[in-house]
């Protein structure tokens, strides 16, 4: 098998403005989506109760609504059917059911369908805390990453890498808002994984850029710098594609065959992996290119002293 992108005559840096505009637009669109559609928060994040019903026969929404009405007239849960022949269902209550209510519901369904439903309850406190922790984690991780990359590389690499990872996390959230996929605790794990993957991918790309720049004696023009970045991107392209492909094999397999419980987890992974690969090459590297050139120009305009500080 041969695949030699480093010999391709493509200029990836030429179209950087389009990438910036494209990503900028999708972020604006994402914000609009979040403000209008909002997120479909699972029971993990909102107060309420989930009743998971199992049966040996096919269930329908009407039938279950009738069942709940028979237990208590005020019960009008939101029902989602699951399983290949709809033998399972989740009824979501926006109120917290009391112990007695849970027992009544369990007895009713045990008698009628032969399976006692599982009931989970959550108070808003726990959900809010989870969401806050997740956001806090990403922000703290970002600061840690900027510091680490700042020490090993240069802070401009760190800043563009972190913008890339925030972009990837946001794209997942925006798409989940668009398709109204339910958000649960494993989803947070997925977003955090994507953050990890995205940074991993970006570092590998940056590492090659840094190596190629160190080989050059002097960089005189923006075109020269852009050409080096382009060369580096083409050099790591095979690796990027192969890596994302192999990880996608696993993520897609989990999405298709992994079962209901991790569906939103694996979907978030698939979206995030693709976004992560895109952002490393077309967003982070290009942002760095623009900023780095501005910085070099500033250095050149200044009196000589800083000449050796970098390169």
């Amino acid at each position: 098998m041969s695949f030699n992108p480093e010999k391709w005559n493509v200029d990836l840096t030429k179209h950087r403005k389009r990438f910036f505009i494209g990503s900028g637009l999708s972020i604006v669109l994402g914000i609009v989506l979040l403000l209008t559609f909002g997120l479909n928060l699972g029971v993990d994040f909102e107060s309420g109760s989930n009743v998971e019903i199992q049966a040996d026969q096919t269930l329908t929404q009407e039938q279950l609504l009738d069942d709940f009405a028979a237990i208590n007239e005020s019960y009008t849960p939101n029902i989602t059917l699951g399983g290949e022949q709809s033998q399972s269902a989740t009824a979501r209550f926006t109120v917290e059911l009391s112990k007695d209510e849970i027992t009544t519901i369990q007895t009713y369904f045990q008698d009628k369908y032969g399976h006692s439903p599982n009931v989970s309850t959550v108070s808003p406190l726990v959900g809010q805390e989870l969401a806050r922790n997740a956001i806090l984690s990403v922000l703290i991780a970002s600061i840690g990453i900027v510091i680490y990359i700042g020490l090993r590389f240069h802070y401009l690499y760190g800043v563009s890498a972190v913008i890339g990872l925030l972009h990837d996390a946001f794209i997942i959230i925006a798409l989940f808002s668009l398709f109204q996929v339910e958000i649960n605790v494993p989803f947070i794990a997925a977003v955090l994984t994507v953050v990890g993957y995205s940074i991993n991918d970006t570092i590998v790309t940056f590492d090659r850029m840094r190596e190629n720049i160190n080989k050059e004696k002097e960089i005189n023009s923006f075109e020269h710098l852009a050409q080096i970045v382009n060369k580096s991107l083409l050099q790591v392209l095979t690796r990027s594609i192969n890596t994302v492909l192999t990880v996608l094999f696993a993520a897609v397999a989990l999405l298709i065959f992994g079962g209901e419980a991790i569906r939103s987890f694996s979907l978030a992974l698939v979206i995030g992996l693709i976004a992560g690969t895109y952002s490393s090459m077309f967003l982070c590297a290009q942002m760095w290119l623009v900023w780095e050139w501005k910085r070099q120009k500033k250095l050149k305009n200044k009196p000589k002293k800083t000449e050796e500080e970098y390169i």
């Binding site: 806090l136 605790v185 991993n200 190596e211 696993a250 397999a253 209901e260």
Partner: protein
């Protein structure tokens, strides 16, 4: 000259690992303790509140509570309950394999604060007057009804109390036994109800100089056993408020797990196939080190007594992907060096060295992210982070060092010297120096 010794050594190492994995695979896999979502069970998160006003919730009272909870869980017969203190005032209890949620809830959260009061709700005796393991379930000798008997420390004290009560007029000469008397409860209120909150109210006609007290009521045998056990386990030093609970049926968990394992194996199988097809000989080395990696991750995981959850399995599969990345970075580098006209030996050396820095930086940053996840996350996110951290560390060992040692044996044997095709490089792609 091909050095056959190195190749023989390679096969010896492989044989060693293969037999090791074959021998230990079963016990290692069986040792993995499965999370609630995989084997079914019940999880409750409690917020701890002081029993009496002015009491303080601190590390000591939280520890005392977990000890009391542990004893209670033992009465349900759960072998390895997971009881964790979270934050300042939370306790998370995970009971794997428990299907009867209601009993579990009752056993956990019943305060079991026993008080014996008069009709005006004044405390006469409390749990501290009970002897160790002083409660037992038995049957009333005459009425043939299930009852609970209590053994008290001090017969004289009980005699004194009963003497006082027996002197009261009829209807007020009652000994009221309460479990979890709450502020606002009163005998006067409850006695009007069909199903009063107190456990029993026996009239006392004469002073009783005995250490044995009978609690009579409309109990079933099971109820009396439950009462006896919970009284013996001791009162909780604090009040537990349930703020979150979740439960997973074992069948649901099992189905989900089989699906996830199938999906995971399929994903890993595809990765293996791709590596061999794309990278040829190094690809085979990658498959070997990845198998060792998967095995070692499970060994380390068991050694840490961690619990495998669904997100954990997903993290394991993802970890395979990251280990693969380390191999891809190295092999791509080696291919590049071969194409630039270097000999196989120096291409291998330069490629391994240059790829190392890249892999190192990339893995450290992911490790930072995983560490933050572990520090700030809660149960399932934490489980995921643990798996990710183990994955990264083990992949460093196998995909970086292991891969280099194994491939190095072949390269140093000079067997591959004239065979760039084994690396997936065509002769036409090699630049002549």
């Amino acid at each position: 000259m091909v050095k056959k010794g190195k190749i023989v050594l390679f096969f010896l190492i492989i044989a060693l690992f293969a037999s090791g994995i074959a021998y230990f695979a079963k016990p290692v896999v069986n040792d993995v303790s499965l999370g609630l979502d995989l084997q079914g069970g019940f999880e409750v998160l409690y917020e701890v509140e002081p029993m009496n006003e002015g009491d303080e919730i601190n590390q000591d009272s939280l520890l005392a509570t977990t000890t009391a909870l542990n004893e209670r869980v033992n009465t349900i017969g759960v072998s390895e309950p997971n009881i964790q203190i979270e934050g300042e005032n939370r306790i998370r209890v995970q009971l794997a394999g428990v299907e009867d949620q209601e009993t579990a809830r009752d056993i956990l959260a019943t305060g079991a604060e026993l008080t014996i009061r008069d009709v005006d709700d004044n405390v006469l005796l409390d749990g501290s007057d009970l002897t160790q393991n002083g409660a037992s379930a038995s049957v009333h000798p005459e009425k043939n009804q299930p009852i609970v008997t209590l053994t008290l420390n001090d017969a004289d004290k009980f005699g004194e109390i009963t003497r006082e009560i027996s002197e009261r007029p009829l209807g007020e000469n009652l000994l009221v036994i309460w479990l979890d008397f709450e502020e606002g409860d009163s005998f006067a209120e409850e006695s009007k109800k069909q199903d009063p909150k107190y456990m029993s109210a026996a009239s006392v006609n004469a002073p009783l100089h005995t250490r044995d007290v009978m609690i009579e009521g409309n109990f079933t045998t099971e109820e009396t056993r439950f009462l006896a056990e919970i009284l013996n386990a001791g009162a909780l030093p604090v009040e537990l408020n349930e703020i979150y609970s979740t439960s997973v049926g074992a069948s649901l968990g099992e189905k989900a797990m089989n699906q996830t394992i199938f999906a995971g194996s399929l994903g890993v199988g595809l990765i293996f196939l791709y590596m061999v097809v794309y990278y040829r000989f190094p690809g085979i080395i990658a498959v070997i080190t990845l198998s060792i990696y998967t095995f070692l991750v499970l060994v380390v995981f068991n050694a840490m007594n961690a619990v495998l959850t669904l997100p954990g399995i997903a993290a394991l599969v993802l970890g395979v992907g990251m280990a693969v990345d380390a191999n891809i970075i190295t092999y791509e580098r080696i291919k590049e060096e071969i194409k630039s006209g270097k000999s196989i030996l120096s291409a291998f050396k330069v490629g391994s060295r240059r790829s190392f820095a890249t892999i190192f930086d990339a893995n450290i940053t992911t490790l930072i992210a995983a560490g933050v996840m572990f520090y700030f996350g809660t149960s399932s996110v934490q489980g995921f982070a643990v798996m990710l951290i183990i994955s990264i560390l083990v992949s460093f060992l196998t995909a970086v060092y292991g891969s280099r040692v194994l491939l190095g044996l072949w390269v140093n044997s000079k067997f591959l010297n004239k065979r760039p095709g084994w690396f997936g490089v065509k002769r036409g792609e090699i630049d002549e120096l």
